[in-house]
């Protein structure tokens, strides 16, 4: 009963790790690069290696550690697709300039709040369960094991130009994109798009200050 509360709250902090972990592929063989499970797994291994690297753990190299993870994530996450999906029907009403600004703010928001949190990594393990491909979409099912508790983390990927990009992450069944879409829709039902942008900008600048 009460236990439920903690579980979906976990979504928000686990997603940090999920976002941080779903990453890049280079140096993987051709066949493997076409298998979303393999390349997400490789990415996770790579990120965990960065997090476990004691040379990068020092306080003066925090920024470097973050930028390395961010670089990996940016190659792997399609923030434009995520923005499109999160804005849903409001997306097409915006001018290209507004769209670009939105994508950039949304990406910064996700980076600030999630990727910056990789400092809290404490030996979590990721177990990959299976992947499934249909057309140009794929899902990778994994479990994040934290303090003996498994949290299902699903990556949704889309293939364009023969490479996979993550467009959504589901933690405990809660979709990141859906969650933001609901928030954006709720704000846009009361305010103008400019109002939403102002809120985003405020949030982002506050995050950067921290």
């Amino acid at each position: 009963m009460k236990e439920g509360k903690a579980r979906y709250l976990k979504f928000f902090s686990v997603i940090i790790l999920a976002v941080a972990f779903s990453v890049v592929f280079h140096g993987i063989s051709r066949a493997a690069a076409n298998d979303p499970v393999v390349f997400i797994k490789d990415a996770v291994d790579e990120i965990i290696a960065i997090l476990q690297d004691e040379k990068l753990a020092g306080p003066n190299r925090k920024a470097e550690r973050k930028s390395r993870v961010v670089a990996i994530v940016e190659k792997k996450f399609d923030f434009r697709e995520m923005s499109m999906r999160a804005l849903a029907r409001h997306w097409k009403d915006r001018s290209p300039a507004e769209q670009d600004r939105f994508v950039s703010l949304f990406r910064t928001l996700l980076e600030n709040t999630y990727i910056a949190k990789i400092d809290t990594y404490s030996g979590e393990k990721v177990v990959f369960k299976k992947g499934a491909v249909q057309g140009n979409k794929a899902i990778v099912y994994s479990d994040l094991i934290r303090k003996n508790i498994e949290t299902p983390v699903n990556y949704k990927l889309k293939n364009s130009d023969d490479r996979w990009m993550v467009y959504d992450v589901e933690v405990e069944g809660v979709s990141l994109v859906n969650n933001y879409r609901t928030q954006f829709a709720s704000i846009l039902s009361k305010e103008s798009f400019a109002g939403l942008m102002a809120k985003l900008e405020e949030k982002v600048s506050k995050g950067a200050a921290e």
Binding site: A6, Y114, K117, A132, V133, K156, V174
Partner: protein, 365 residues
């Protein structure tokens, strides 16, 4: 003197339960039901619509109350507690409380017709209460491979077709809705802590609060992260709660893999297999036992090789293969492993397959 009191108390409780259920069915009208079930795992994210939240102003007040409660009371208490109590111990306490609620899961699995899962929960309860020393450890999962089958009355009502009704944010208890509130009220009677609370309300509340502080001490930082990531934390929490509960009711992700399976069922099947013990599969979703493992075959394998592999699997395990599906260049064998067996066991199958010449075989859960 005492007897009439307890009878009237019981009657009052029954009355309130009925009232709650009636209210629930009434407010379902206001609640928006989830859309059709035709979404695939691959499709667009399911849009669950806006929440029916006519009480939003009140709910927001309680949301702020809970927010302050967390930062001013629960968090400091959990921090102090975790300073004195080792993490291992706190994890044991969490398992203990989880084990106490086994009756809720056993009964609700039964109510949903999940007889096997109910048995799993019963076995877990017996094993963990004895070998696991009153539930402090979880040998049922670690040694016997029995994972919990989390069900509650809110989910049961959802399975029965009750809509969520309007959204509530209760003080102390946090997000809920009409259906889940009714569910919690019902599950209350299956929780040992409730019976403690009935005989000694102070002790009941203390135990409940203690459990809460203990669990919070293991998830410190989650709520902070959540607040930081959200643009409107109230809406974000409401949406996360709704998504989480809807997926749980549909047993997606959190429980068995019905998304996966139903998407398998809806893909075109290239090979009709008549394997003993297999469900003859047509389109549509079918329930597959939780302990299924899949043998995934790489894209470079052609149909003949796949059929050869199927035969090898059949020779090794009399009832192994259920079906083969083709999906976007991937062929999946569904390999059934007896309930309770672990992933490692299925991995042995993979090694045997590799040894038999199918070097690309990979068992995925």
């Amino acid at each position: 003197m005492k007897k009439p009191d307890s009878v009237s108390l019981l009657l009052r409780r029954v009355f309130f339960c009925c009232l709650a259920i009636w209210l629930g069915s009434l407010t379902v009208v206001f609640g928006q039901d989830a859309g059709g079930d035709n979404d695939l795992a691959f499709g667009e994210e399911r849009d669950i619509g806006m929440a029916a939240d006519p009480l939003e102003p009140v709910n927001r007040v309680f949301f702020h109350f809970n927010d302050k409660l967390y930062f001013w009371v629960v968090k400091p208490a959990a921090q102090g507690y975790s300073y004195f109590i080792a993490e291992d111990v706190r994890m044991c306490v969490r398992s203990f409380f989880k084990n106490l609620l086994a009756p809720v899961r056993i009964v609700n699995n039964l109510l949903q017709g999940k007889v096997a899962d109910s048995g799993v929960e019963t076995a877990r309860f017996v094993i963990n209460s004895t070998f696991g020393i009153a539930g402090l450890a979880d040998p049922a999962k670690n040694e016997f491979g029995l994972s919990p089958k989390d069900e509650d009355l809110g989910q049961t009502l959802g399975v029965y077709g009750f809509g969520e009704g309007i959204y509530f944010c209760w003080p102390f208890f946090g997000p809920s809705n009409v259906r889940d509130t009714v569910g919690i009220a019902g599950d209350f009677f299956l929780s040992p802590v409730s019976y403690l609370a009935m005989s000694d309300s102070g002790a009941g509340v203390a135990v409940q609060a203690g459990g809460e502080v203990n669990n919070t001490s293991l998830t410190l930082g989650d709520y902070e992260d959540f607040k930081e990531s959200a643009i409107d934390p109230y809406v974000a929490l409401r949406d996360a709660y709704r998504q989480y509960r809807q997926k749980k009711i549909r047993d997606v992700v959190v429980g068995r893999d019905s998304v996966y399976i139903s998407s398998l069922g809806s893909t075109q099947e290239r090979y009709a297999l008549n394997v003993p013990g297999s469900a003859s599969s047509g389109a549509g979703s079918e329930s597959v036992p939780a302990d299924d493992f899949f043998v995934q075959v790489g894209t470079s394998v052609d149909a003949d090789q796949v059929m050869g592999m199927r035969q090898t699997l059949l020779d090794m395990n009399k009832k192994a293969v259920v079906k083969v599906s083709d999906r976007g260049g991937y062929n999946f064998f569904s390999l059934q492993v007896p309930a309770g067996r672990k992933f490692e066991f299925a991995k042995q199958e993979e090694q045997r397959l590799c040894a038999a010449g199918f070097s690309e075989a990979r068992v995925v859960q």
